[in-house]
């Protein structure tokens, strides 16, 4: 295991935001996609998940955002054992997690503004309470001039930033991103990365799955490396850009 203080199998379960203990995952009766994963993330930490295609990066994220259930082992989020959560308790946990999905999952019949405001609506906030915050956030991610646009009319990078805005609008405790820079040019990738760093500085625990080894190397952040369903932890490789 790494000596990084953010990743520790021995840290107190109550202090960890995410804790995996010998977790495995298989879909249906298929082969194990993940096996024996054990790691813990401390609050405010920033990690990448790396590995070749099919290594299980997205599956690991799915387990964290409650998009799949582990077939073995135990997962704790915010100190709560996911296996013991009732169906009524799971939405509250989900609301503490912001996710930038690999395929973005923007709602095509809603404007950029409505898409970004979605988690706040779900939380039950009144429009008057969050209008200005959403507008400010969209301006911050560079979509100030595209608030009314429908997703189909947005460029790839704009969609990506909209998905990020939606993921962070609720000020989540955990921010997950699955290949957030996969479809954008290097300049945009850098901007997006800096956005995540800024959110991390504001207190969010960040976990990003990526193929972009350069970004990982330049970031100076630790990485959870997946290969063949197994996990190894890689210490920071360089300085932050």
């Amino acid at each position: 295991m790494s000596r990084n203080p953010d990743i520790s199998a021995a840290s107190s379960a109550n202090e960890d935001v995410v804790r995996f203990d010998n977790v495995s995952l298989r879909y249906g009766r298929g082969p194990e996609v993940l096996r024996g994963l054990s790691f813990a993330l401390r609050p405010g930490s920033f990690h990448f998940i790396t590995g070749p295609s099919g290594a299980g990066k997205s599956s690991l994220l799915k387990l964290v955002y409650l998009g799949a259930r582990a077939s073995g082992g135990g997962i704790r989020l915010f100190g709560q054992d996911l296996a013991r959560l009732t169906a009524d308790q799971r939405p509250a946990v989900r609301r503490r997690i912001g996710v930038v999905f690999q395929d973005l999952l923007l709602l095509d019949h809603l404007s950029a503004f409505d898409n970004a405001a979605l988690p706040l609506r779900i939380r039950g906030a009144r429009a008057s309470e969050y209008r200005s915050d959403v507008a400010e956030l969209l301006a911050w991610v560079g979509l100030g001039a595209r608030m009314h646009a429908m997703p189909a009319t947005l460029a790839g990078g704009e969609k990506q930033r909209l998905a990020i805005a939606r993921a962070v609008v609720n000020r989540p405790d955990i921010l997950l991103a699955d290949e957030p820079t996969g479809n954008v040019d290097p300049d945009m990738a850098l901007r997006i990365y800096r956005l995540f760093v800024e959110l991390n500085r504001l207190g969010a625990t960040v976990l990003i799955a990526t193929h972009d080894q350069d970004m990982v190397a330049r970031s100076g952040r630790p990485a959870l490396h997946l290969d063949g369903g197994a996990l190894t932890v890689r210490a920071p490789q360089g300085a932050a850009p």
């Binding site: 169906a87 989900r94 999952l105 019949h109 979605l118 779900i122 200005s132 001039a145 608030m147 009314h148």
Partner: protein, 297 residues
């Protein structure tokens, strides 16, 4: 562009797409079902009124067949019977019918023969009874026998029982048809909810992963289908109301036919239709959506 978008004036858009191509088909089918349900309700109300009218008429009347004894003319026997019956408590009026009425009753069997008047045809006495305290056939019979009259009392009880049985049958049949139509409407809405969820699985998934609970998502579909059903119910009810009004106008005061008299007030029966349709849709869509959302997990 951005100049035209003012966040301060922004209002949340519906989380489900406002219109879907298949909504038109759903509204049409539910409209037809609501129309049929309203017509059934109007038919049952009219049939019930007709049955009440007939049984009320029959219960308020009785007929006595008087046969003259030797030494007494049929007319004299009928007059004496009428006088006797008029004195019975609960009899409002007793009237000996003209002999022509009696002949009219037998003419279909005997034909229009010349010497019909020579036949000993029994005379009829029509009695009007007090509907609040009508005497029964036994009391009338006793009074007639006390006066030595050979008479048979028909208080129409056999007919009244038949009419009441027929009215009950119509009521139950109407209720069964109404429930069948409501069940069909519920099934159509459940089917549409399933199709809606399947088509908008992306929305369900995003809402779910964004922290919406099952009830929140189910309510979106519930509201959508309740609105559609209310619109369909309104169209169906208005159409049925127009048909009912046409039936009323076509038949004057008795409706289309005296057998099925539609009254203006009956048209109020269609008023709850939109609400009922929305309630059925709400319950069915909520349960279906909840079941499907849980199955998705």
């Amino acid at each position: 562009m951005s100049e035209s978008f003012d966040p301060a004036r922004w209002r949340p858009a519906p989380l489900l797409p406002a219109t879907e191509a298949r909504d038109g088909g759903l509204v049409f089918v539910v409209t037809v079902l609501c129309f049929l349900a309203c017509l059934t309700a109007l038919g049952v109300i009219a049939a019930d009124r007709a049955a009440r009218g007939w049984s009320g008429q029959l219960a308020g009347e009785a007929t006595v067949i008087v046969r003259a004894k030797a030494g007494e003319t049929p007319d004299a026997a009928a007059a004496r019977a009428a006088e006797t019956l008029a004195g019975v408590t609960g009899v409002v009026e007793a009237r000996a019918l003209e002999k022509e009425k009696a002949y009219d009753l037998v003419r279909p069997w005997l034909g229009d023969i010349a010497d019909l008047e020579d036949l000993p045809v029994p005379r009829l006495v029509a009695i009007t009874l007090d509907p609040r305290a009508p005497p029964n056939a036994e009391m009338l019979d006793k009074a007639l026998k006390a006066q030595g009259l050979d008479a048979v009392v028909d208080d129409h009880s056999v007919w009244i029982k038949d009419i009441r049985r027929a009215a009950d049958t119509v009521r139950w049949a109407g209720a069964a048809i109404f429930l069948l139509i409501a069940a069909a409407a519920g099934y159509v809405i459940a089917f549409a909810t399933r199709a809606g969820l399947a088509a908008r699985r992306d929305v369900v998934e995003v809402l779910h992963l964004s922290g919406a609970d099952d009830g929140y998502i189910a309510r979106l579909f519930q509201i959508r289908f309740a609105q559609l059903a209310a619109v369909a119910g309104l169209i169906g009810a208005v159409t049925a109301g127009i048909v009912g009004a046409a039936l009323r106008l076509a038949g004057g005061g008795q409706g289309l036919t005296p057998a099925l008299p539609v009254a203006w007030i009956d048209l109020l029966a269609v008023v709850p239709c939109p609400l009922l349709a929305a309630v059925v849709a709400t319950v069915v869509a909520h349960r279906t959506a909840l079941h499907l959302i849980r199955a998705l997990q």
